[in-house]
Amino acid sequence: MEQKQTAAGAQVGPLLLKVEGVTKSFPGVKALSDMHLELRPGEVLALVGENGAGKSTLMKLLSGIHTADEGRFFLNGEPYEPQSPKHAQELGISIIHQEFNLMPDLTVAQNIYIGHEPRSGSFFLNERKLNAQAKRLIERLHLSLEPKWVVGELTVAKQQMVEIAKALAYDARVLIMDEPTAALNDREVEVLHDLIRRFAQPDTGVIYISHRMDELKVISDRITVIRDGRYVGTVNTSETTMKEVISLMVGREISVEAKPEGVQEDREVLLSVSGLSTKHLLKNVSFDLKKGEILGFAGLMGAGRTEVARAIVGADKIESGTIRLRGEEVNIKSPADAAKYRIGYLSEDRKRYGLLLQQEVNANIGLSSLQELFQSFGFMKDKAIRAKSTEYVKALRIKTPSIAQTTRNLSGGNQQKVVIAKWLVKDCDILIFDEPTRGIDVGAKEEIYRLLNDLAQQGKSIIMISSELPEVLRMSHRILVMSEGRVTGQLSADEATQESVMHLATLRPDENPEDAAELGLDESDLVATATTTKAGSP
């Protein structure tokens, strides 16, 4: 697969795809200027750059969603001018967008073949053929999906699988993946990488966008770096270090925060959860959160970490168990209630629960704190909101032409930063961050880590849920590991290693945890030992 010449060297044979001098502006934003990119046949080309660098915009041009202001595309040496997503698809370009583009009310099979459904005549559907076709595709790709599952009821990870199946359903020559792994855990990432390797043929190519530096090394042949909409350079993956790539990406040094100091044992316990159970998943979850502590939640997708958060803030019903705040039992019935107790929850699904996409950036940042900070006698204090927003746009390096920009127009990572800003503005005692750095670039991650550390130092307590283990290991004073709705162990910052956490995260009665959970097996006996010995003993 690896080509003979260096990245800058002359090209033998035609390029699969070539981007030449492409420029694209949106009102107030120059998203791309004079961008270049070359995709060779048979390779996986990673495209990296900071949030708002223009990666998704380039992909949207390639797939015919937007049209370029200037510049040209070539597909197999022929000029290529996509008119619409359909047109691009017909010419063999398939794309998995950064944000999900699925129809939640339709089934897996219906989603995969939307627009290409097998028909009898030209108007009538052939549902049986559709399902059979989908079944074959799913088997060919080794995905754990069923054609008749309703997509809206699937996990984020499974939905991602549907997106992948949809992109691979047609004979694509060029497959573009815009942050396909942002929502996946390590195991699922491996499945995806496997698929990509199987997809890669001598005459096909993959453009792969990701902020997870560790996976670039594994999956890509070459890496193209983009900064502020401009082409910076291309390197062969085997001949570079991630450090070099990062410095190309950000064009400045990024300081890496040291691992935070451990919290003294005798700190006041702020939040104490004991015996928390919910109808569907959680079983007897207990833990303490101390003042000024960052408590990491590790576990596989589906372990129940989000459930714990949602149960605490009253978004889901609790079956049994108690929650104590500073020793006093509280009954939190809704997120609004939680806010009164100064508990904030940043949801993992920003599009659904985190943002008002049609509203301005500053409206989003001020939203959670309107009541306390930004009103007098019911009138909004616009000036204060704008001042605060400006402050956080700077602090988090949110890339936007103005704080009055419609949030929908921000890049994916920058939208995520807006959600974070919203919760940082609000003066909470306890902050629960669910996958806070999803889709955020390396540089900005450091800024967020620094802010979290600052908050902890100020005496705020933070629960951090993350699927990226290195992040949990680095940020947490203490790590709580969950598996299948139970706490399987708690580790101090010193004891915790990749291996010890993974061991606890995979403690389960059965080879396949999802199947076990789905079948409703009661695995209490099997992990009970781990739970009782470890839980509640930090």
Binding site: E117, K148, T155, E307
Partner: protein
């Protein structure tokens, strides 16, 4: 995505059971709507034994026809996440058009009927263009059309009813009995319901109806011309407006230009009682038919019990709230 209160992690847990249970659950949902219909029928039967005799039974079906026809077309629109407020007055306008063509112009009945139906299609087409091309919110576009149609019906008819007394064959469209003892209108509604169900479940039109309502942007990104299909769907709803116009004027023997207002809300209520979600993506024809039946059974039963019209509306309003609440509670529980 349409709202669902489940978190992804939570879903993982019972994905398989849910997915397998989906069709079952849909059945159940319709079954429950059907069960409430039965309960209401039994209640009225207990209150007044006359309720269930054959002639009253046909009367109920007959009174379902107009709202049912409108509701069928609107089901498509509502599944896309849209709304159509112009169906009531649009229906009156189509009736007037039919009258003008047949009575005032003297064209054959068949031509008049076809003209009225196509005119309904035109109303829907204009709605569709306003919504899909000029991006007007469906509520606004069809609210405007509601007013336009109401005004035009009065203008064209000179604010006076048009009587079809010289064309007895026209009335037969609704009141004739091809099948003994069953009014033709009922047969027509049944046929329309079957055709709608086939369109919605077995054709690409139906698939794209659900798809647009489920996630319009994603549908467009999948390479589907959502603009075209939205126009098609509103036009289809318009054809139903036209047919309702014919059916109501044939039944009354006259085109009443001042009526129509209020039918749109009853039709929408029927769709909603039938379990179709106003946020789009979900719904069924069976549900809509049951919803329309519930409304006319209520109207009829309350009349038989001599409950005044004003109170009938109060009760209908309560039924809508209970029906939709029960539907939501069921979905939450699932």
């Amino acid at each position: 995505m349409t709202a669902s209160t489940l978190t992804p992690e939570k879903k993982e847990h019972h994905t398989a059971t849910e997915a397998i249970g989906t069709t079952l659950r849909e059945r159940l949902q319709q079954f429950l709507a059907f069960a409430s219909l039965i309960v209401i029928v039994v209640f009225f039967w207990a209150m007044s034994p006359n309720f269930l005799n054959f002639s009253n039974f046909t009367a109920i079906l007959f009174s379902t026809v107009v709202i049912g026809t409108l509701a069928l077309g609107t089901t498509f629109v509502i599944i896309t996440g849209g709304i159509d407020l112009s169906i009531g007055t649009g229906m009156a306008l189509c009736a007037v058009i039919s009258g003008v063509l047949i009575v005032n112009t003297g064209l054959p009945v068949a031509v008049g009927v076809l003209g009225a139906i196509l005119f309904g299609g035109l109303i829907g087409f204009i709605n569709g263009v306003n919504i899909a091309v000029f991006k007007l919110p469906p509520f606004i576009a069809t609210l405007a059309m509601m007013l336009v149609a109401q005004g035009l019906a009065l203008v064209i008819s000179g604010s006076a009813p048009i009587y079809f007394t010289d064309d007895p064959s026209y009335s037969k469209i609704s009141t004739g009995n091809i099948v003994p003892d069953v009014p033709n209108a009922v047969i027509i509604l049944a046929v329309l319901a079957v055709v709608s169900a086939v369109l919605l479940n077995k054709t690409i039109l139906g698939r794209y109806t659900y798809s647009i309502g489920s996630n319009e942007e994603a549908t467009a990104l999948s390479g589907i011309n959502t603009r075209k299909w939205k126009i098609v769907i509103y036009t289809l709803a318009g054809l139903f407006i036209g047919m309702a116009g014919v059916l109501i004027s044939a039944r009354l023997g006259s085109a009443q230009p001042a009526t129509g207002m209020g039918y749109e809300l009853q039709a929408i209520a029927a769709v909603v009682i039938g379990g179709t979600s106003l946020t789009g993506g979900k719904g069924s024809i069976v549900g809509t038919v049951i919803g329309a039946l519930i409304i006319s059974v209520l109207n009829n039963g309350l009349q038989i019990m001599s409950i005044p019209q004003e109170w009938q509306n109060v009760i209908l309003g309560c039924v809508i709230i209970v029906a939709v609440y029960a539907d939501m509670a069921r979905k939450r529980a699932a």
